[in-house]
Every structure is written in structure tokens, then in C-alpha cells.
Symmetry: C2
Subunit: 197 residues, 2 copies
DNA sequence: CAATTTATTTTGACCAGTCAGTATAACAAA
DNA sequence: TTTGTTATACTGACTGGTCAAAATAAATTG
């Protein structure tokens, strides 16, 4: 049944994610994935074409989930600044979660050059992220609290700052700096948007 | 003689760099390094403990060179804004060079979690980068053209923006966007430093 | 200087281990 | 029975690292 297949695929993707966050993309073997999913090795090859196919689906799934959460976080908010605050809270959700996700994400980034499919998934992710930034900026322009020369450039800048801060935080391997980087990220974005009031 | 050994090591490091930028860190084999260096396979193990040792030296060498170039670029400049401009020009040196270096750098970032030595090299690189940012900020504060609440936070923010933009540019695989991202990076930093005049 | 010995460097075959992917058998459900 | 699913054994390709022998350079000696 199609439902069962879907469940199995999810189970395998979650296992691959857990394995990758603990061991790193390249060193994860098909056996590892099977072990984490508590199934035999043959199952992974039954549901996915090959290892790269597993990871393509994994990255698609992860980036999709991340975007949905981030997009949801801003929709309840009523002012641009509150939207941004909610966004940053969602992005810097916790040291543990950020570490798990961003380790896999950095592995993923390092693989993009080798795989056209990965590249397209990431392009979609960027576009989704930019759309969130764009919403916040437009709201702030309506409210007259932000001032930017070019909306597209500002949306791109927001994501640069977010990824740049999370990656730098991750590389320093110090959970205590999480709040510090969160506040640097938030303040920098406000400055880039030329926040007044 | 010690001089010859040094030359050989450099030759191997350059080969490893070239191999890594073309094939990606994980898929580079000792044989690849030997091939690019035009020596036999055993030589690499004669001059380095193992593969990880080669890459530790490689990363140290690369990040050191990058820092030196960046540091040198700002020293001739007389105003804070010109220093920043020179810095960004050096950072966004050309699509080809940025691609070569940043591909290896992203691979390197994805390996940091697995290797204490890599982590320390990167920490040193960050501190070097921050010191460049700090020089520029201090100069701008003297000149009364910048305004920041916290110098340390601003130095960190600058590197976040630089890495964030270069990584995002790299992932989009479009050389034409190089100038675009360069200008976004430059403008964002000016805004973070609250540039007036 | 030349002959010989010693030290250093280079080579490439080889080994032991790993992994992705396959083949096949066993099992379960309909 | 038939079809869909899972387990297991296996293969072939490849890798990091080793090592003994070859090549080369340096030092020593007559």
C-alpha cells in the first residue's frame, strides 16, 4: 500500500538524518541508515534508487520543514519588528536543534557542487527563505519603520546574515554563544533594514 | 636537506588543494594527490603522517595566506571606508579564485566537527579575520563616520556577512552574480556600521 | 679525484578493510 | 498462488596505509 511505503520512506529519511548529524554525510553508510532505522540494508535500496537519492529526498524534506516552520512563525505577528523577532527566534531555535540541522546542512552545502539535484533543492530553499524576508521588509516599509534602497538586495542580505551567523556559531563549538550570535544576527538585520523608532 | 623537504611539502599541499577544489575533500584519494603532484603514492605518506595531516597543513596554509592578503589590502588605505572597500575587493577577488577557495573552505567547514586540529586552525582564522574588521571599525570611529554599540559584535557581524554572502553566491553557481553579491556585502556592512556622510 | 659506503628519498606492489549495490532466498499478505 | 516486502550473503571496486627494494644524494676515505 502507498501509505506504508510513505511511512517506510519517512522512517529511512529520519534515520539518515540522525546518522548524518552524528557521523557526517560522507561517512554515513547504507548500513548505518539501516541500523538507525532498525531495518535491514536491503530495505533502503528497495525504497530509494541509491544513496544520493536518499540524501536528495532527505535534503528536500528537511529544507521544506524548516521553511514551513519559519514561514508559520511570522504569520501570526502584527508588526514588522515582531515578525522579524519571531523569525529569528525560530531560526535560532536552540543550540541542540541548530547543531543537528546545521551540521547536516553544511555537509549538504559541501556536496552541492557534485549534484545537480541538490543544487535545485537548495535554490528552492533560498527562494523560500527570501520570500519570508521579503514579507517582513514589505511590512516594515508599509509601517514606515524600515528603509531600504532595494528590496531584493535586502532579502538576500537577511539570509546571508542568518546563515553567516549560524555557521560561525556552529564552528566555534560553544553552546553558550548561541544567544550572543542570535542577538548579533537580529541587530545586524535591523541595521541593514535601517530600522527607525 | 630541510629546504628540499619544505619544497616537497608545498608541492604536495598545492596538489591536495587543486585536487580538493576539483573533486571535493572526501573524494580526494592519496593517489589523486600523488597524481596532481606528479610523484608516486608513497611520497605523501613519507612527508605527512596521514591524509588528515595533509589537510590540516593545507587548511593552515590556505587560511594563513588568505589572512595575509586581506590584512595587507587594508594597510595602505587612509580612510575607514577605503579600507573597507579594499577589504571587500580582496575578499571578492574574482569568481574563479573565490570558487576555488570557497569550495575547499566549505568542505573544510563540514569536516571541522570531526577533527580538533581543524577546529583550532579555523578559530585562529576567525580571530585573524576579526582583527581586520576591528581595525576598520576603530578607524571609522576615530573619523566619526561609523557608529556601533559594541565593537566586538560588529567585528563578528562583518565576518558573518562576508561568509554568508560568499557561500550563498557559491551555491547559486552563477559567476555573473559575483559583483551583485559583492555590492550587497559591502552595502550591508556599511549599514551595520551605521555609516554616515 | 675517484671509489666506496652511508643516508635519504622515491617507488609501486600489496594488504586488510570498507562500502555501494546486487542477487537471491525467505516471508507476509491478499 | 501471486505480489509486495524484508533479510542476508555476496561481489567487485576502491582506499588508506605499509613496506621492501630501487634510485639518488651525501659523506667518507684512500
Amino acid at each position: 500500500m502507498a501509505k506504508k511505503a510513505e511511512t517506510r520512506k519517512q522512517q529511512i529519511l529520519k534515520a539518515a538524518f540522525q546518522a548524518a548529524s552524528e557521523k557526517g554525510y560522507e561517512s554515513v553508510t547504507l548500513q548505518d541508515i539501516a541500523d538507525y532505522a532498525d531495518v535491514s540494508k536491503g530495505v533502503t535500496n528497495y525504497y530509494f534508487k541509491n544513496k544520493a537519492d536518499v540524501f536528495a529526498h532527505l535534503f528536500e524534506w528537511i529544507t521544506g520543514r524548516i521553511y514551513e516552520k519559519e514561514a508559520a512563525s511570522i504569520h501570526e505577528q502584527e508588526t514588522a519588528v515582531k515578525m522579524l523577532e519571531a523569525y529569528i527566534n525560530q531560526v535560532f531555535i536552540s543550540p541542540a536543534e541548530n547543531k543537528t540541522f546545521y551540521r547536516v546542512y553544511v555537509d549538504y552545502l559541501s556536496q552541492i557542487k557534485n549534484n545537480k539535484a541538490y543544487q535545485e533543492i537548495n535554490q528552492q530553499f533560498y527562494e523560500n527563505c527570501w520570500s519570508i524576508g521579503r514579507s517582513i521588509i514589505n511590512k516594515g516599509l508599509e509601517e514606515n519603520v524600515f528603509s531600504v534602497n532595494d528590496i531584493e538586495e535586502a532579502t538576500i542580505s537577511i539570509r546571508c546574515i542568518i546563515d553567516g551567523s549560524l555557521i560561525q556559531w556552529l564552528m566555534r563549538e560553544d553552546d553558550q554563544l548561541h544567544d550572543y550570535y542570535k542577538s548579533i544576527c537580529y541587530d545586524s538585520i535591523l541595521r541593514v533594514l535601517n530600522y527607525k523608532e
